[in-house]
Symmetry: D2
């Protein structure tokens, strides 16, 4: 089969202390600290071997390009991957995917060949303290499809049953498997947002206003989910005009260019001074947005931090105190019925993530598409491995 193979040079920076067991298997806690000179190649590789008892083989119909894929591709001035997440090379990348089940292991109970499925990227152990406390995204023995084990920019992928969710319900709404899988492959980013807004931050009361900072794919899903969950107003702050238009297509009532207007003032006007019940940080640029975020937070307002940014943030906590505000850190998408709820929202038409798609390419075109994202104007780009 064909797959996107990502490889890079294992070159821990000076002063970075890699545990020997990690070095032995080239497992990086933070790729930016050890992986240099990444290469993305479309290669012909072996199909995955037959499934273990609790595994499935999935033929991938659609796999989205994530900001993490971009950060795996792009390098800093030292030539290191930008990605501050874990990584083990070589690996088939891709972690936002959906496909058709083509083979199931002997112990698989709830899936059969022909089922449409999407798959959680994060592989949690179920045994560590975090997992057993209901925090699978904080698993102490985490592995990630598309980062440390083979993912979905490939014609086939082997995955455990406990990471799979059925998408058959999308077929009714979208008519064809191809379209169902396209939308279904966006379950993963939408579930990342769902984890942040609803599972970690506990949601907002319907009728409150929601402000989303950033209209990349994560911000677009946040706009859609905020509207679906009953925000009276969804406001999106984004500097790129193309992305503001996408935000409005996905569910924002109003989009604002923070370079042109005070987001806080816009929100105050739209809410008669009440402010936002929830703010979603989806820009990944904390320094740029935190002051504006604090301008938006109403009494009892919640800030859900979903965008990733390794740099420290400056918060005027006195403002959070006076507003009885709260801040929720979030990462990942597992648990909390995030995936089944997102899929149910897709199947019922309450969110329409197809409005976030700006490009579709075959597997052969994936690397070029990746190279083209440097201007950060796209919405979601979908790769179609099964049709390469």
């Amino acid at each position: 089969m064909k797959a996107i193979v990502v490889d890079a040079e294992w070159a821990p920076r000076d002063g970075v202390d890699v545990p020997p067991e990690d070095a032995a298997r080239r497992w990086a806690v933070n790729a930016n600290q050890v992986y240099r000179s990444p290469r993305f190649l479309v290669e012909t590789v072996e199909d995955p071997s037959g499934p273990g008892p609790n595994e499935l083989i999935v033929q991938v119909g659609s796999c989205g390009i994530c900001g993490s894929d971009v950060h795996m591709y792009e390098t800093d001035s030292d030539g290191y991957m930008l990605l501050p997440y874990h990584m083990r090379c070589p690996v088939f990348s891709g972690h936002e995917f959906a496909g058709v089940v083509v083979e199931v292991g002997t112990e698989v109970k709830d899936f059969a060949s022909g089922d449409l499925v999407t798959v959680e990227e994060i592989q949690w152990c179920g045994t560590c303290l975090a997992c057993r406390g209901g925090y699978p995204n904080q698993c102490a023995h985490i592995e990630d499809l598309g980062f440390t084990i083979n993912g979905g920019f490939a014609e086939f992928v082997k995955v455990p049953e406990k990471a799979c969710w059925k998408l058959n319900s999308l077929l009714d709404r979208y008519g064809t498997p191809e379209q169902a899988l396209e939308v279904g492959s966006m379950s993963e980013p939408a579930s990342v947002v769902y984890e942040g807004m609803f599972t970690r931050a506990g949601g907002f009361k319907p009728g409150g206003a929601v402000v989303v900072f950033g209209a990349g794919p994560i911000g677009l899903a946040a706009c859609a989910l905020a509207a679906a969950a009953g925000a009276s107003k969804v406001v999106c702050a984004e500097t790129v005009a193309d992305r503001r238009a996408l935000a409005e297509a996905c569910g924002a009532d109003v989009s604002v260019d923070p370079a042109q207007a005070s987001v806080g003032e816009v929100v105050a006007d739209l809410t008669a001074g009440r402010g936002a019940a929830m703010v979603v940080e989806a820009s990944g640029n904390f320094k740029a947005v935190m002051g504006s975020i604090e301008d938006c937070l109403g009494v009892g307002g919640k800030l859900s931090v979903i965008g990733m940014d390794a740099r420290p943030a400056t918060l005027n906590l006195i403002r959070h105190q006076l507003a009885a505000a709260s801040v929720y850190g979030s990462v990942g998408h597992c648990g909390g019925w995030n995936f089944p709820n997102v899929i149910a929202l897709m199947a019922s038409g309450r969110i329409q993530m197809e409005n976030a798609v700006t490009k579709r390419v075959a597997l052969d075109g994936m690397v070029d598409a990746l190279a083209g994202t440097s201007d950060r104007r796209d919405g979601k780009i979908l790769v179609k491995p099964g049709q390469a």
Copy 2:
């Protein structure tokens, strides 16, 4: 001005022990125990006197007929009011109303003549333990507009500032004050539902299914709010066909006649066996529906009990235990930003309560309209006092 004056005979049943201070002012904790032979009359009465420092005078544009009004009008076999709630006669009834501010007291800060407003029925003291703990609907010194003090089936009503909410935002959506006040007068029943679903029960995660038992005005608001808050499916169980149609107009995806089909099976089919994330009891007939409700509850499901029924209910608690289910008792509409959130949902079009209206009458027609509700086929009936 004209008003609907409700009077009845003070005749405590044998064995009912009325505290002397209540007897002195004819204040009934439970009208069904003391008030006999109710009379509803349209009378010409004095306008309310000038507002106190923190009060407003409102000219009522629309006032809905509530099930409680019906229970005030109907009697049991002994001739006592059906109403099991508190009451002090004579009183101008009506507690779901909206109107225009025509005069404000000297200390009123946030309202001016010309403002469109709706008013909380429940007058909480702010001083008792319940109020100071955030439970205004459980106020120990409660008084109720339309029950124990004069309400909204009248051309004018005097109300405290702290019970009022602005409806000016509805004017933008609905175009005319008349229509804005019609919709605005349904804030009260919608806030009763909001209190039950979101403030007491804590809402449901978007993407879950919601089942509503009963499609009277309370059930209709529950259908609308469930859809607005991101239910993947809203199912309404109701025996009366006309009301099932109203439920679908208000937001139900599916309506079921429980006499014809098992609601639990319908919900299981629609949710692939997952069951409901939330069930709303809005029938006021616990005996008839509780078994079906338990058939619907999914793992972690919540039951919000909003309908009123003085008779005991039979619960198979073992089913709640095995399902990790929970049950929330709710009454009232104050606090929790219920009103402002409901109004914001109306102003943004996320709920369209006008779809629940089946009849509009002048104040002179109110008593006939009330008499016509005995078949329980209507949705919301609106009375227009200001246009009598």
Copy 3:
């Protein structure tokens, strides 16, 4: 090794429909419907075979007798087990146990020989919808140590790593492994209570009053946990004098015989009319206690239903509505960090479950001890398999 072997006659009652796959392996969803004439015998049986990769062998130091064991032993008038829970005979019973690790599988990461451990009874799959939503106690493919697979009334037991929790911290407090394991074997019932009070019902605000109905082992743990969590008053209602004394030893400030005094009035007096913030049902006799429970519930009060009773309960829901009360069904002990939090409370001395113990017997004496529980006067009875 020696073990308590429970066997019974597979004899589904007329009209009970057992799925063929359950019949084939004699797996009863509800033992009371199919298992007749139970027999408890101390037998010499094979030691468990070597551990699988993710398993451990534990030498059992202490195993408590649970009400479920009693219900497995006692029969109804038709000769069927009283137990309304699932069961597969023959089986080694016992599910509240602690012991020493004597062998670990090749993939076990966090345990070593010599560790003191306790073990979750409930074996959840991690793959079904309930498990992946954070509800392991509602697992669709549940198996239970001591009910459907071999448990802890045996010298050795084989268990999966993901069901184990370390008790090494108890050694510091209790001085000897024997005492640490005794207390540690009560982690399971205490975790059942913790699940009900804190994980399902969300706990109570410190300073509120807590009322516990029933002072069997579950009720005793509830008294201890309520005191540890900051109840201003812990009141225990129990008809048996010996158990009232145990309740006071475990943490109750006041115990009441509901046959002699109104529990509601006692609670009202103790709380200046405020009522209980939380009530714990631990009697398993819903009919007897529900009215008194409702007398106790204060505004915003929570009822955590932990006792098991297959018979329906009568609730005056209007009281729950007027009080803004809520009811939480609970079963099981997995998830929510129930076990590690309970163990931490034991290790810090915040709860002292040794005060609940009224008898200690060797494995040979287990059946006699079981037979002696018919008067329901004991607290916790501990069996010491490793010292038979």
Copy 4:
């Protein structure tokens, strides 16, 4: 009567824009921006006039010195009050007080002469959006006893019924009114902490570890409340040795000098790597402690920010994301049954705030005591106005 009269020069700094209505009544949103050269004097002043219908006159038995009083007294290099809170001079300061009711207004329902009471400092309006949403501490029309209206460093004070809480229950525990009022006067700071830990942050699950940064009076109350609410370990980080000893007297299991040891490592050791379930910021020095706080936060950990610090804080939000941590801003003490729960904890002996007291002075000694706090070694200093 005698009272501590605080006055200062109204001198808005350059560039500070004071609204004319505030200037007219010398009402400062932020005292540090407008009030210069504060003076504290013991003066003989008029007794308060007779109570209004809903007011009480209280003879003050004990009034604590708060950090805010210190910041009112101390000045910055420009001679302005350090206090960044609101203020209106001249005023009788003192806002942590308890006393005996000596006169009640005609409409007062629940208090009588002779009752022991404490009083909420914050006077919320009950009418604004924040108040009606359950956020009285965020009241838009706030006034504060001891800051903008006369407070408790006086023999008598006039207060509204709705700000009062009975302390009669403390008499049983503490034996004399004097002692009951001493402890009762610490209800206010303890309620500030209760608001932060339990009402805003939602508490922690019993058995989790709690870390408190700072052992001034706020931190001491946090130690006591954490222990009472079932923390398995309470760790206090504090640089001053005297205050570390106080922390241990109030409930800390361990105290750490952050200048000598890594608080994060201490917590990791004590919790077997699990980290804190809750961290309480009570130092008011965000810059100094935030990194250590982040070292302590376990998976799902909560940070309750109660200390006040107008300077921005630097948060490594990526750490909060990876840990699924959350941050809660808190100010004030009203609502949420904070006061009655704190008083119930005092009356039941679950917290013993008398252990935080390091000095008792008469009203005449108050100013000297205040001057003596500059080394920040004291715990709580109590002033006894009724015994001057």
